[in-house]
């Protein structure tokens, strides 16, 4: 499917039928137990987190979660995470470190929630602190970009030892609409922006941002998710095996270096 245009992939990434994190998790993990709240202000439905086992190994799962219907979407701001969500992720991440559990994140957001209260409660600080925390967390982290990875809101969950993307997911500095709006003051040129932005999984692999692509069958993930899930499980199995054998110092040095060289041209 390499011949598809970037915009076609954006459309696939945003297809309402495309599975959300909550649809996929039961097929990947066993015994998921949801954990809620940031212990400061509230609980953000856009960040679905908890404990589970992956083929017998306890893991912490942090997933940006879009709703599957209007009601769910209103509750989770269409998957746009608020400061409480990032702070919940930080809390669960520290807990994972304490109990030596690997962390697996799922990135699926158009961006951090741009609301009044989100700003009042420190959206910028919440994202910044997540970036800093995940950089030195003493446990393996694997990030999976499921559909949409937009801006700092997505980055906050993708400072990881390994980053994989589903084939038709996109990951970019901003949504194509936002990009067109900033650059040309014209949101309707999103399609054009998408082609320029180099936001597909193949672009990101070329740029050395991600470690690999999880292949989707023709028509996208929603047409045939079983094969993609098998591929994802194989990747998790392989990478958890490699990462969990590393000494903490090596793990952290490699993670630092991974981001340190990005953009060093």
């Amino acid at each position: 499917m390499k011949s598809m245009s970037a915009w076609e992939r954006v459309m696939l990434a945003r297809n309402p039928q495309r599975p959300k994190a909550k649809d996929l998790l039961p097929h990947i993990f066993e015994d998921f137990i949801e954990l809620c709240g940031d212990r400061h202000f509230g609980d953000d439905a856009a960040l679905y987190g908890g404990l589970a086992t992956f083929e017998g190994t306890p893991v912490t799962v942090l997933a940006q979660s879009k709703g599957r219907n209007l009601q769910e979407n209103l509750e989770c701001h269409f998957g746009m995470v608020s400061p409480e969500g990032y702070r919940k992720a930080q809390r669960l991440a520290k807990q994972a470190e304490k109990f030596h559990r690997p962390i697996i994140t799922f990135v699926d957001t158009a961006g951090a929630f741009p609301g009044k209260e989100a700003e009042e409660r420190g959206q910028a600080e919440a994202i910044a602190t997540s970036l800093k925390l995940f950089a030195t967390l003493k446990t393996p982290i694997i990030a999976i970009v499921l559909s949409e990875g937009g801006s700092g809101g997505a980055l906050a969950l993708s400072v990881a030892d390994r980053i994989y993307m589903f084939e038709n997911a996109i990951y970019s500095i901003l949504s194509p609409e936002g990009f067109a709006s900033i650059l040309w003051k014209d949101e309707s040129r999103a399609k054009e922006a998408a082609e320029l932005m180099e936001c597909t999984s193949f672009d990101l692999l070329n740029k050395g941002i991600i470690d690999g692509i999880i292949e989707e069958s023709e028509g996208g993930l929603h047409q045939h998710q079983k094969t993609a899930i098998l591929l994802l499980k194989e990747i998790l199995r392989k990478e958890l095996g490699i990462l969990s054998k590393k000494k903490v110092k090596q793990l952290l040095d490699e993670r630092y270096k991974k981001f340190r060289v990005m953009g060093n041209v």
Partner: protein, 290 residues
């Protein structure tokens, strides 16, 4: 095109002649009298008075934007600044349409090679690592070179055991460099995490504007966060938020004072008091640091 550059250069030289780089594009020069209109109170002021007042309006106290070198000369002891990576530019980064031309234009207009100036210097005799952003260069946006220069400055602070100061002034990540710009947020934050673990002091100074990806990375990670009065500080843009919630935001939303009220800034400090405040903070950490 050449004609355009020539015209632009002439305009700039008029401004620079009068301001000696203190006040640049934000201030409109009135042809007849060569006066400057303050962005805060819209009153006309003689450029010399603004310069003498560190770029602060003599009528209303509005803090106008100043370039990186002017900021450094206000903060550091005279003659102590040692710049690193002075000549680094971003021309080679990519071929995004129109990007190189823009870089060239800003280089000419802002008198810096990139949107951040980095190095070491002294504040009241205390050696510091310092990075100062220049919002006159492409709105201070952070691309790969800006991110890398800032990361190098943070690493210098960690290795040489210098306290770190970063003066932010930026619209956020640089769109033209796409995902690589975004990754600079992770890179700089990771470097700060290491400085933190080494016990280093980081004072973050927020000036107008500090928004987007810069606010959501190093700007908000200081041990101590100071802000100049009435600077715009926030993650999402005002218009985006208004569109999302479908209502108009109050004027003081996302200002320094608003952020202090909400608990995200330690102190709002005027430009005149900034060096003194930093100096006191540095003295307090002497011997404790690292």
């Amino acid at each position: 095109m050449n004609q355009l550059f020539k015209k632009r250069k002439e305009q700039i030289s008029i401004v620079q002649q009068f301001f000696n780089r203190v006040v640049k594009t934000e201030v409109k020069v009135v042809e007849a009298s060569q006066l400057v209109i303050c962005d805060g109170c819209k009153q006309a002021i003689a450029p010399e008075s603004i310069k003498a007042n560190q770029g602060v309006c003599i009528h209303c106290g509005y803090h106008m934007r100043i370039g990186a070198y002017d900021r450094l000369s206000l903060l550091l002891d005279e003659g102590t600044f040692r710049e690193i990576d002075k000549k680094r530019t971003s021309f080679h980064v990519n071929d995004f349409p129109g990007y190189k031309k823009k870089l060239y234009q800003y280089q000419q207009a802002a008198n810096v090679n990139e949107a951040v100036v980095c190095g070491s210097g002294q504040i009241s005799g205390v050696k510091v690592a310092i990075a100062v952003m220049d919002s006159y260069f492409m709105m201070g946006s952070m691309g790969s070179v800006v991110g890398d220069k800032i990361t190098k400055t943070i690493e210098m602070a960690t290795q040489k055991k210098f306290p770190l100061l970063i003066v932010s002034s930026s619209g956020g990540a640089r769109m033209q460099e796409g995902i690589l710009s975004l990754m600079q947020m992770a890179k700089t934050s990771a470097a700060l995490a290491r400085l933190d673990e080494a016990g280093g002091l980081y004072i973050s100074i927020l000036t107008h504007p500090t928004t987007g990806g810069v606010s959501a990375s190093y700007a908000m990670l200081g041990d101590i966060i100071l802000a100049e009065p009435k600077a715009t500080i926030g993650f999402a843009g005002r218009r985006v938020i208004e569109k999302t919630i479908n209502e108009k935001l109050p004027d003081h939303f996302q200002t320094s004072e608003f952020l202090k009220e909400k608990g995200f800034v330690d102190q709002v400090v005027t430009r005149h008091q900034l060096k003194d405040t930093c100096s006191k903070l540095l003295q307090l950490h002497q011997g404790v640091n690292l």
